[in-house]
Symmetry: C2
Subunit: 187 residues, 2 copies
DNA sequence: CGGCATCTGGACCGATCAGTCTAGTCACGT
DNA sequence: ACGTGACTAGACTGATCGGTCCAGATGCCG
């Protein structure tokens, strides 16, 4: 992929997304962040005038966009909704393994665990609804009877499944998700 | 909301459970913690020699025990597993509303977002398995065909549903959980 | 009463926190 | 070659962090 001469701003965003997901907003210090991104403090406050909080929003948004891309890449080539769901859960499991099996959801770790700030939480809500809207769209496209409710259910399963996978240190919990969703629903 | 008859140690544990759930382990300072518990620093280090981390483990364990009690109270008087599940989700919804609708799961906020410490995470795993074991027990007791898998699913739904409820600021997401679980499962 | 252990109160510590500030470097248009 | 704005570099600051320490209460035995 394109990873060669990544500009400082992007290095900051990616390092932030990575570290916040691992330790939560308050669990990451600026010094750790900057050394991970290999950037000096001046650059941070040049690109993100409000410092850590601005960077956190950017990092969560970037992570959310990646998730949207993953959703689209799973459902667009799918024959039906079940196939797309299986692909998505499989991709999520791979991401889980690649992350070291301890990280949480990038959005909740960054925004929900962040400052008491209401803007943070509403932004998290906005990003989550973006995921659900995207899934709803594909569910409708693929002829699912109740796309809105189905998308909600898939969101819940992914969030809960990720948590269980994290506790058990096993991405299998994510791979088994579609079975839970479709086991009795084959009509 | 005065807990005056409560001994200092318990006041610390409850304040910690409350605050960690709201802001995560790193998001709560000792000063905030101590003023919430109305206790001086000396008491903390008397009751919890290792300080914040000891207290966090105690708080998470206490919160977990409360959850175990809630599970037992939901399933013991239940005619069947579905009834128990509905009671449990209803109780969870009430707890969600009472918590101010922004707090997360006390265990993951306290232990997963805590220090990189492996002990923390394994303890979280241990507590979670305690919940699942308890639900498995009741599911078996109430004649559910596959108690282990059913308990896993309920755990996933509760974790994911709580997250969605938090984003949407609506405990209805928790109340609707049993419908998602039993809608197509009317065997 | 004395003697001892448990618990409390808070002053104090070095480390680290997020954030500020300014001098210096660099790329690029002219 | 020069000027200008975008960007980097890191020393510095005041606040707050978690943690230590010990003198004083307090309770509970004799």
């Amino acid at each position: 992929m394109t990873e060669r001469p990544l500009p400082t701003k992007d290095r900051l965003i990616r390092a932030a997304a990575d570290l916040f997901r691992r330790s939560g907003y308050h669990g990451v210090g600026l010094s750790e962040l900057l050394s991970a991104a290999d950037a000096p403090k001046g650059s941070l406050y040049h690109h993100f005038p409000n410092g850590k909080s601005d960077l956190a929003v950017a990092a969560a948004t970037w992570a959310s966009d990646e998730m949207l891309r993953m959703i689209a890449a799973s459902f667009e080539p799918a024959k039906d909704f079940e196939a797309g769901t299986r692909t998505l859960c499989h991709k999520a499991a791979k991401m889980f393994d690649k992350s070291g099996q301890w990280d949480g959801c990038p959005i909740s770790a960054t925004l929900f665990e962040g400052p008491g700030n209401t803007d943070f939480r509403q932004h998290a809500h906005h990003l989550y609804e973006g995921w659900i809207t995207e899934v709803t769209h594909h569910a409708a496209q693929l002829g699912e009877p109740d796309p809105r409710e189905t998308a909600d259910t898939l969101f819940i399963l992914l969030q809960g499944g990720w948590q269980l996978a994290r506790a058990r240190q096993s991405s299998d919990e994510l791979r088994k998700l579609p079975d839970r969703l479709f086991a009795t629903k084959t009509n």
